[in-house]
């Protein structure tokens, strides 16, 4: 979604072409992100001609302020949906920054790791908006990610296993 997409594209901006092909996963209800992504990739293709990317959509795990109980149900549904997608792509790296959409994808990848099907490195970057507290996605993925990056020092203190690189977006 909006802010998350802008942030993640900024994170991608300095990555070399080793990080290719890029598979973007979006919530089905997200209208604006696709245009931003295509524009980013188009510009990128001007510099790196062999640049490749794809876009996939999954059902949104949770609406803003959705109740706990129904969130568990919708997230389970999203996991069921994203597991085959993650299995198909078998990514070496998952990079995410916090929308609910990322949780089922990361959990699917984690599961694939447990099943010894594919070992994916999960890198979570908490949004720049999160200064003192983690988002719900962050609270969950703190335990499932390989690298958990925060952008403010207070969070580094509270979550000692996290990585602090300063502001990166």
């Amino acid at each position: 979604t909006g802010g998350h997409t802008t942030e993640i594209l900024r994170l991608l901006s300095c990555l070399s072409e080793s990080y290719s092909p890029r598979h973007y996963v979006l919530a089905d209800s997200d209208k604006m992100s696709e245009a931003k992504i295509r524009s980013f990739e188009q510009k990128r293709a001007e510099t790196f001609s062999k640049s490749q990317f794809s876009l996939d959509r999954i059902p949104r795990s949770r609406e803003v302020r959705q109740s706990w109980i129904s969130s568990v149900v919708t997230t389970l549904y999203s996991i069921l949906y994203s597991f085959p997608l993650t299995y198909k792509r078998k990514p070496d790296l998952i990079l995410c920054n916090g929308p609910g959409t990322c949780v089922p994808v990361c959990l699917s990848a984690f599961l694939l790791g447990l099943l010894r099907i594919k070992r994916t490195i999960i890198v979570y970057v908490e949004s720049i908006c999160r200064v003192e507290t983690l988002s719900l996605s962050g609270k969950i993925l703190y335990y499932f990610s390989d690298y958990f990056i925060v952008q403010w020092p207070d969070l580094k203190k509270k979550y000692p296993k996290s990585v602090y690189l300063g502001r990166i977006v």
Partner: protein
């Protein structure tokens, strides 16, 4: 206007921006080097939005008020006291990832 894809044009020509505490709005404005007053909406308050606005204010990048104190804030503001906002460094992230993958 209601919704535009981008406020970049308006931002470019503005001398002062008064905005809600949304991260996108705040950061976009600060990156364009425009002075910013963040207005916290007590009713629509999303606590996490507040975190960034408070931090930006603590660091001296923005002014900060709520709907009822907006007028006096604008009347008494000292914009030159605001610090310039340094850009984020995605290259640090790229280096970090490269190290993870041994690139």
């Amino acid at each position: 206007f209601r919704f535009k894809d981008s406020l970049a044009e308006e931002l470019q020509s503005a001398d002062l921006v008064i905005s809600h505490a949304g991260a996108g709005s705040c950061l976009e404005t600060l990156e364009k080097g425009k002075p910013l007053i963040v207005v916290i909406n007590d009713k629509l308050m999303d606590n996490h939005q507040l975190e960034l606005a408070k931090q930006l204010h603590r660091d001296g990048y923005v002014l900060y008020c709520n709907c009822s104190t907006l007028v006096e804030t604008v009347q008494s503001m000292n914009l030159s006291a605001l610090k310039p906002f340094p850009p984020g460094q995605p290259e640090k992230f790229a280096s970090f990832l490269d190290k993870v993958f041994g690139l």
